[in-house]
Subunit: 201 residues, 2 copies
DNA sequence: ACGAGACTAACACAGCTGTGCTAAAAAGGA
DNA sequence: TCCTTTTTAGCACAGCTGTGTTAGTCTCGT
């Protein structure tokens, strides 16, 4: 039988090369050939795994969300509801090199997906991730409410949207001005926001 | 003497053609020739006003921030401090077609500017606008504080950062999912956030 | 060993890319 | 009218683009 190569792993390897190209030179530089060179293969090899470029872009974008989802799924919900909430939300924030890389790439794809035409499946990916994060915010707040930790005059749905917007805004700031908006500062702001939602003990 | 053409106006006209191309097909499609076609001129004409492509991109990005700045400068600060604050902050949000177009383009440029190399002046533009919006947030909160409308246990600097992040997050949501995050909803969330900062009357 | 099937590299092709260059058209004061 | 300066269009060039195709290499169960 044939040479055995982990197809899925290879595709991820190529997608990660695409990430590096996008981070270094922007999405405009993400051609089949530059990606192949970055991955250390010939262009033909890349095209064996991804027949066309759109498929590669789509896969690479999907990989970002899968990585985040995997990390979120791996979280052990221990500690107080607040601690848990913080831990979950932090996973969506670019607070270390790995997550900053993911976020930069995600931002490039998001901008591309905003283009009306030719966006194909990119638009759907954005919506899915967006909805997922909102759901997460709502779930976390509900958990807090069930613990009685939340103020009882809150509209949870509204607070979920506000929290969601804050998280996305913080992510943007952490990515764009990491010096001014340090990881510690982001955590501090997020914790502070949650505290404003808490009932007085 | 020569044919007289408003040089500045022509440059803006070309930059707006670039905006349309970026919105329609993404920044990857923004070549000199596509932009010229969109503007209705030859590529040579475009290159007369912008000798190289980087200059065009940079100018087009700068134009976005200038447009926003002009609108902000034109605001008449009437009404309560809260009303004023809302009016200013709304100007940075993509709540109508014009501002949504600007934001989409801005997002594409921001993603491109994140690329480490070749970003040239784009990075500086992002920083400038970012700092400007933060300053605005801080000024507005200070104005509220001087009116005695703000709770007195607040750390204004921290609240400015939180407000800034919320505004950017809301802008993103309004741009990405305009159906779910309607202009009315965005205004509502922003007003609600400000209310949580207000002293009880 | 051998050959079926998975994998790789290389070339071809038409079309687009940014930029340099040149010739011509337009315009209005002299 | 003519002439200077600005403005415009077009071509040329080398290089890159996505994709189709083809010939080859490698691996491993039999």
């Amino acid at each position: 039988m044939p040479k055995i190569v982990d197809h899925a792993a290879r595709r991820e390897e190529i997608a990660e090369a695409l990430w590096r190209v996008v981070r270094r030179d922007g999405i405009r530089a993400a051609s089949v050939r530059t990606i192949a060179a970055e991955a250390g293969w010939s262009a033909g090899a890349v095209r064996y795994y991804f027949p066309d470029q759109d498929g590669l872009l789509s896969f690479a974008m999907d990989l970002v969300s899968r990585r985040v989802t995997e990390r979120v799924a791996a979280i052990q919900p221990k500690g107080s509801a607040t601690t848990i909430a913080l831990r979950y939300l932090e996973e969506a924030l670019p607070l270390d090199a790995e997550r900053r890389a993911e976020f930069d790439v995600w931002m490039a794809f998001m901008a591309q997906a905003q283009a009306e035409s030719g966006a194909g499946g990119l638009r759907a990916h954005v919506d899915t991730v967006h909805d997922g994060l909102r759901q997460l915010c709502e779930s976390l707040l509900n958990a807090l409410a069930e613990d009685g930790a939340l103020r009882d005059d809150l509209d949870v749905r509204r607070e979920a949207e506000r929290l969601h917007a804050l998280v996305d805004g913080l992510a943007l700031h952490a990515a764009i001005q990491p010096d001014r908006t340090s990881p510690a500062r982001v955590r501090q702001l997020l914790r502070h926001h949650l505290e404003t939602l808490m009932a007085r003990q």
